[in-house]
């Protein structure tokens, strides 16, 4: 029986046709992957199913019945749950409050009771959360777990997951998959959006591919391969694995010594961290999310002041400099969350100029012409699919990341700090970003790659440092590193 059938769905935003005559079927009891490049229309289709958007045209059937879904309320009532791509959590509320929000019958609210209920659900579904913590204190990975539990808590029979694993590390992904498979046995049907083809091939039964808002086709997992899926998505051959040419590294450029910093929840989010990076080198920083990656990114980019320790760039002490001075000193950065590093309501050109306004000011007035011309150059150089006057938030994730990269790299920084650079990006964009980082290294930059994606770390880094509970658990040359070895360090075992 079909759990969901979407027929002839079309949806446009202004001039953008996000979905065009899309057909999609979910059989009950299957895990069905929805694939497509950034901007292919996956999220739009699922937001229609969840009642967050109304389709211009098309029909939706759930368990064979035609449904009018006007709001998430209708969708929840029909047994549909959704883990959205960008977090829809209330940061100032506790985990338990977020999970029961809109889903309690009682008039009064007992913190103790809802925390117990949520903790029980957390154990039942195998998704661990701390029900009394405030969401604003959680790392991105932990927030994602809250999202997943929130949908499961609502007794969803059909679960939409929009890139749920983008912020999870391998171990967490395994746990998620285990519980998904268990839940599917008990009658859950899952729609699973991911850019990671490995995951899709591991856990899904069937795959539907979208391109430019249209259905390309649906295939059984057994009859396809990663390469075939990538080709269906992009419409051309792609190279799934980036080739790393090994090269001699240069002199030491960037030196971090005994760095200690406090986080929002823990006193020592970073505890006596030391490492050096040479020119022509990528240092990968691996680790399970929430082990100090956010704080490290913030300290290195000047947003958070360390309580102790030093950072030296070519011998110059820079740990007390402001973010602006750091840029001047030759630091390029891509922030952990690209929405935080950019301003959605400004145009692409304005965002590109943002870190270097002095250069774009004439007599205290912004030189709009220069901003525009430089933007055109960068858009061309970095292959951004947008025009200078587009509002940044209308861009797909991949293009937004290219804007961030263009801004950071066009000044040819001596040190590049890339934090989670490919999170949520499709195959093509990921390929681009990784190539670009390797190019930076070959140009002579010292690159710090902070990533929770172990495959990425292994593929790009020359040396790998593992962050565990705010400490560096060892720095290993990639030639000596194996996934098991790093995995054990990440778990804090040795």
């Amino acid at each position: 029986m079909l759990a969901v059938e979407m027929k002839g769905i079309s949806k446009h935003f202004g001039l953008v046709q996000a979905n065009q005559d899309v057909h999609f079927c979910l059989e009950s009891g299957e895990i069905h992957a929805l694939l497509g490049e950034n901007g292919a229309g996956k999220t739009t289709l699922m937001r229609i199913l969840y009642g967050l958007y109304r389709a211009d045209e098309g029909e939706i059937f759930i368990n064979g019945n035609k449904m009018e879904i006007h709001s998430p309320k209708d969708a929840i009532a029909a047994g549909v749950g959704m883990v959205t791509q960008h977090f829809t959590l209330v940061p100032t509320l506790t985990v338990a409050e977020n999970i029961v929000l809109g889903y309690t019958n009682s008039l009064t609210l007992s913190q103790k009771l809802i925390e117990q209920k949520v903790q029980a659900a957390s154990e039942r579904f195998g998704v661990s959360v701390n029900s009394s913590a405030l969401v604003k204190h959680l790392s991105l990975g932990e927030r994602q777990r809250v999202e997943i539990l929130k949908a499961l808590y609502r007794n969803a029979k059909i679960l939409i997951m929009d890139e749920p694993t983008a912020v999870l590390v391998p171990q967490e992904v395994d746990i998620l998959f285990e519980s998904l498979l268990r839940l599917v046995k008990n009658g859950l049907s899952v729609i699973f959006i991911s850019h990671k083809l490995n995951e899709v091939m591991t856990v899904c039964d069937r795959v539907t591919v979208l391109r430019d808002g249209k259905t390309v086709g649906t295939v059984n997992k057994n009859e396809t391969s990663r390469e075939k899926l990538a080709k269906m998505m992009v419409g051309r051959e792609t190279f799934l694995d980036t080739q790393r040419s090994s090269r001699k590294t240069g002199e030491s450029v960037y030196e971090v010594k005994d760095l200690t910093a406090s986080g929002q929840q823990v006193v020592k989010a970073l505890d006596n961290i030391s490492f050096t990076i040479n020119a022509n080198e990528i240092l990968g920083i691996a680790g399970v999310s929430g082990n100090g990656q956010s704080e490290l990114t913030k300290v290195l980019t000047g947003i958070l002041k360390p309580t102790h320790g030093s950072i030296k760039l070519e011998g110059q002490e820079i740990s007390r400099l402001s973010p602006g001075d750091l840029t001047e000193a030759g630091l390029g950065r891509t922030p952990e969350d690209r929405h935080e590093g950019t301003i959605g309501d400004l145009t692409v050109a304005e965002n590109l100029a943002l870190e270097d306004l002095n250069n774009y000011t004439k007599n205290n007035i912004l030189d709009q012409k220069k901003i525009h011309e430089d933007a055109l150059k960068k858009i061309d150089e970095f292959q951004i699919k947008a025009s200078p006057n587009d509002r940044l938030r209308t861009l797909s994730g991949g293009n937004m990341q290219k804007v961030v990269f263009a801004r950071a790299l066009s000044r040819r920084p001596k040190v590049v700090i890339a934090s989670q650079p490919t999170r949520g990006l499709d195959v093509g964009a990921t390929e681009y970003v990784r190539k670009r980082l390797l190019e930076e290294r070959d140009r002579g930059a010292a690159v710090i790659l902070i990533s929770e994606d172990l495959d990425e770390i292994m593929a790009l880094s020359d040396r790998i440092a593992v962050l565990y509970e705010g400490c560096i658990k060892g720095i290993v040359p990639t030639s000596e590193a194996t996934a098991e070895k790093i995995g054990l360090l990440m778990a804090g075992v040795c």
Partner: protein
């Protein structure tokens, strides 16, 4: 205790009463993500409607009820503009204030004409507890509404932090997308917050005509609504702290009146300005750690 201090405390509570009601009303709106600048007009409307209904029916309670209803309607109007139609909240709030003040003045002229002696009603009686005690007697000689105002603070706290409705309000003021995705109707929720808020504001306004003055004058609210807006910030969107702010402002207002009566040789404008100066200083100190509801001022639309 000194007679001066006892009198001051009693007056402080009286002056603070309308501020407590209206500030709690504004707090509801802002916690739900709507800055309601219609507060000044809504208090004015409440003062006028309360007075008119009471003088027509002869019942102060009907006056109070009518004021509350007029406040609910004002909240509905704010909701129509800022929540449904997504009009900028500053614009719609100020517009409502201007509209309601002129509407009240216009209706007052039509109903009561322009008489030399302003019409008046028999206002609420003082409720005297401990009337034999020389200290507590004067302090606890207050209108019933003053006691209600103080009693309502923990009620508002309870609603906000210990009920499902309160959880929804806090959620929608911080992240309406999340609230919507959780299956809650954002429009209805914000509308109900505005209705409750409007009722409280209008009751605050009507306290002045129905209890304090017994008559209606054109300058009756005199910027109290704006004071309430800053008291919400001062109280950091927390009902209990709002009480502190209201008492501080009420206390300074009462003090300046008493100082004027003492006959100090200073221009009286200085005394009049005193409460506002204190408000500004208090805000400068308290406002630095203000944690605004994240979605304040942002209209919500799905696409």
């Amino acid at each position: 205790m000194d007679e001066f201090i006892v009198g001051l405390i009693a007056a402080t509570l009286r002056v603070a009463t309308p501020l407590i009601f209206a500030t709690l009303g504004e707090l509801f709106c802002e916690r739900a993500g709507v800055l309601n600048l219609g507060i000044e007009g809504t208090m004015f409307l409440g003062a006028f409607v309360g007075f008119t209904a009471a003088s027509m029916t002869g019942s102060l309670w009907i006056g109070l009820l009518a004021a509350a209803i007029s406040g609910i309607l004002s909240g509905l109007l704010m909701s129509l503009l800022s929540v449904r139609l997504g009009v900028n909240q500053h614009v719609s709030g100020l517009g409502i204030t201007l509209l309601l003040i002129s509407l009240s003045l216009f209706s007052y002229r039509i109903i009561f004409g322009e008489s030399k002696i302003p019409p008046s009603i028999n206002s609420f009686d003082l409720l005297k507890i401990f009337s034999d005690n020389p200290v507590l007697g004067p302090i606890f000689s207050q209108y019933l509404l003053t006691y209600i105002a103080i009693a309502i603070i923990p009620v508002v706290w309870y609603i906000l932090f210990r009920t499902t409705f309160g959880l929804n309000i806090r959620a929608v003021g911080e992240n309406p997308e999340a609230t919507d995705a959780a299956g809650i109707n954002v429009y209805k929720l914000r509308t109900s917050a505005l209705m409750i808020g409007g009722a409280l504001m209008a009751i605050g306004g009507s306290f002045i005509t129905l209890a304090q003055l017994g008559s209606f004058t054109f300058g009756i609210i005199a910027g109290r609504g704006w004071v309430c807006i800053s008291l919400v910030i001062f109280g950091n969107w927390h009902p209990i702290k709002v009480l502190l702010g209201a008492l501080l402002f009420g206390g300074v207002s009462a003090l300046q009146l008493r100082l004027q009566l003492k006959g100090l040789k200073l221009p009286y404008e200085i005394f009049l300005a005193l409460p506002y100066i204190v408000t500004i200083i208090a805000l400068t100190i308290a406002g630095r750690n203000a944690s605004y509801p994240a979605a304040l001022l942002k209209p919500y639309k799905r696409e």
